[in-house]
């Protein structure tokens, strides 16, 4: 107690009283127990409530005790720490639940047969069938979309950050901003009108790739732009001062420095478009059969497959199981992709010492 008042008066003292290391854990355990107790006593059924009560108790408890023992500044630090822990836990719970639900329901029908066969003639109400045709379609459509949008997107971002200063850059920035707001279905509609109705090209995976590119481009441009801006000017100046041409500076200094962030941004963009359903329904259509050619005739894709199986299931039966299994495959697919991309990013990125 006396220590506390002392440190409050003289914050510059070299070392104030500190609480033991297990303090946070003790408070956390105490508040969870109390939270559970209160919600049982009050008869609150939901998991969400006791978690919220416990979180509140934890923050208040740490502040109160720490403020008495360690002083105001330390107490604030503790509150911040506990708030950040709480934020972390609050976020992890729903996300963990999402993964758990998908895996639990997804593994039911997920097997080799499911992965290597298409739906073929199996009706939605019957068991059997698979998602081979959808996996193939998604791989091709997303692959083509990525091949279209990543070079254009990254180059545009380079232009905006490294070169563009005039009206053109302003206009591009403006339109990229507009583009982020395009509802996916409208992008699909644009391609439908232009490519399929006006040019008469017919439904195909490629039409879907174009619609997906429209959605992917602004995300790539904006995230790359942000990452390029974070590259310290000193690096550029040092390189230029050594007489390295600007384009080589960009390729060898600026891009490698920010490649981690850029890859993350591209992965986010791929993740976003891989889950897109509405535009694909409009321009790629669906088929229950295998179509390996993305440039002719309708193709299937995983999100559309999931959506249609779910929409036709009534929340039960074989179609419902297939929807979850396909969702699991879709998540796994994106995660593997992510893993590879991060591996590449780490391997290529210069060592920063962090």
């Amino acid at each position: 107690m006396s220590n506390a008042t002392l440190s409050a008066k003289r914050p510059s003292s070299l070392k104030g009283a500190t609480l033991p290391k297990w303090f946070s854990w003790a408070v956390a355990a105490g508040s969870i127990a109390l939270g559970l107790g209160i919600s049982t006593a009050a008869g609150l059924g939901s998991n969400i409530q006791w978690a919220l009560i416990a979180a509140l108790l934890f923050v208040l408890g740490s502040y109160g005790i720490s403020a008495r023992v360690e002083g105001r500044r330390q107490a604030k630090d503790r509150v911040a720490t506990s708030l950040i822990w709480v934020a972390f836990l609050l976020a992890v719970i729903p996300l963990a639940s999402l993964i758990y639900a998908t895996v639990k329901r997804g593994v039911k029908v997920l097997d080799g047969y499911f992965l290597s066969h298409s739906m073929g003639v199996i009706a939605d109400t019957e068991p059997g069938g698979g998602i081979y045709h959808a996996i193939l379609g998604t791989l091709e459509q997303v692959g083509i979309a990525t091949v279209i949008s990543v070079p254009i997107g990254v180059l545009t971002a380079i232009y905006l950050v490294e070169y563009g200063r005039g009206k053109l850059a302003k206009a591009i920035t403006f339109f990229v901003d507009v583009m982020t707001g395009i509802p996916s279905i409208v992008a699909g509609l644009f391609i439908l009108s232009l490519w399929i109705i006006i040019l008469g090209m017919g439904y195909s995976g490629f039409a879907g790739s174009m619609a997906l590119s429209i959605l992917m481009l602004p995300v790539v441009v904006r995230s790359t732009e942000e990452m390029l801006k974070l590259v310290p000017n000193e690096l550029r100046e040092a390189s230029l001062a050594l007489g390295v041409p600007k384009w080589r500076t960009i390729l060898k200094v600026v891009l490698p420095t920010s490649i981690g962030g850029i890859t993350t941004g591209v992965m986010l963009a791929i993740a976003r478009i891989t889950g897109e359903t509405a535009p694909l329904l409009l321009v790629v259509w669906v088929t229950n059969f295998i179509n390996a050619n993305p440039f002719k005739d309708p193709q299937a894709s995983l999100p559309v497959y999931i959506y249609l199986q779910f929409a036709n299931s009534g929340g039960q039966g074989p179609a419902y199981d297939r929807a979850w299994a396909a969702a699991l495959v879709l998540i796994a697919f994106i995660m593997i992709l992510n893993l590879v991309a991060r591996g590449i990013a780490r391997w290529k990125a210069p060592k920063t010492g962090r």
């Binding site: 199996i122 259509w285 929409a311």
Partner: protein, 373 residues
Amino acid sequence: MKLQRKNRRALALGALAVSGALALTACGSDDTGGNGGGTQTAAAGNIDCGDASGQLQASGSSAQKNAVDAWVKQYTAACKSVQVNYNPTGSGAGITAFLQGQTAFAGSDSALDSKEVADSKKVCKGGQAIDLPMVGGPIAVGYNVPGVDSLVLDSATLAKIFDSKITNWNDEAIKKLNPDAKLPNLKIQAFHRSDESGTTDNFTKYLAAAAPNDWKYEPGKSWEAKGGQSASGSSGLAQQVTQTAGAISYFELSYAKGGMKTVKLDTGSGTPVEATLDNATKAIAAAKRVGTGKDMALELDYATKAEGAYPITLVTYEIVCDKGNKAETLPAVKSFLGYMASEEGQGVLTDADYAPMPDEIITEVRETIKGLS
């Protein structure tokens, strides 16, 4: 230099990924339904494949999706050279795609209007689009009231419930119709479709026709009444009714699964009518034909008092050109539609919870299909 070597390696990796994806296309196969499960493919001898081959694209009503699935399965077993893609985009989108010449036929829960028929003359060279009634189904009113196993409602009460005028299950109006039921003191949660749909269209047409005093809204594909709650798709509605105590909603009978209870309708015919396939077929048989020439659009009598006819019934039409179908898809269209209308085709329907068309209608449909060109 080191970086360049790595670049080459990354390139090689990319090439590997691409070739891997290409290799993937080689394995995998279509499920031909041979591995058991579900209905066995019937003797295919009666299906006339003609010289049909290639891909047949169609889209439209999601209400008939399960029926089309069943048809496709039987049909493909017989005619292996034809692949039928039915995309359940919804009736409106189906008609739009058909009018743009993207599909060989469309499925729709409502007949074409005059403007659409006029537009169709562009796609159907020398002819026009026609409606062929192919499959029907009762729209069941499902409810979830604990302890109430049987519930009778009339059109006026139904209208008041969906218009939020009756808000509790122990309301006098409901009690009067169900003197024996133990109606709890429970708030009514009336769910309607949040998306536009032919199901809503038919249901609101029924309310407007059978209870004109209690349902003042214009019937249509989108829900006009205020209040209540909504969910997307028949599947979504069925799910809400299963999850929510006190819920009531409307959807095709095939969605009333898992022990869900459906309302019996007091149409004024004496005995309350249950939502069954037979009762739906009876209602369709009583329908008036309004289509002229080869067009077979029907007008259902939603206020029917005929014995055992279930008045909230949905008829799905297949829409094709009477003349001027595309040459490359014509054989497949005739063959597939012919199968749908055949005795075997209609016979598949009851297993999938759909109502077959009454005899006199389907006979004429068969004739029309034979004459398509």
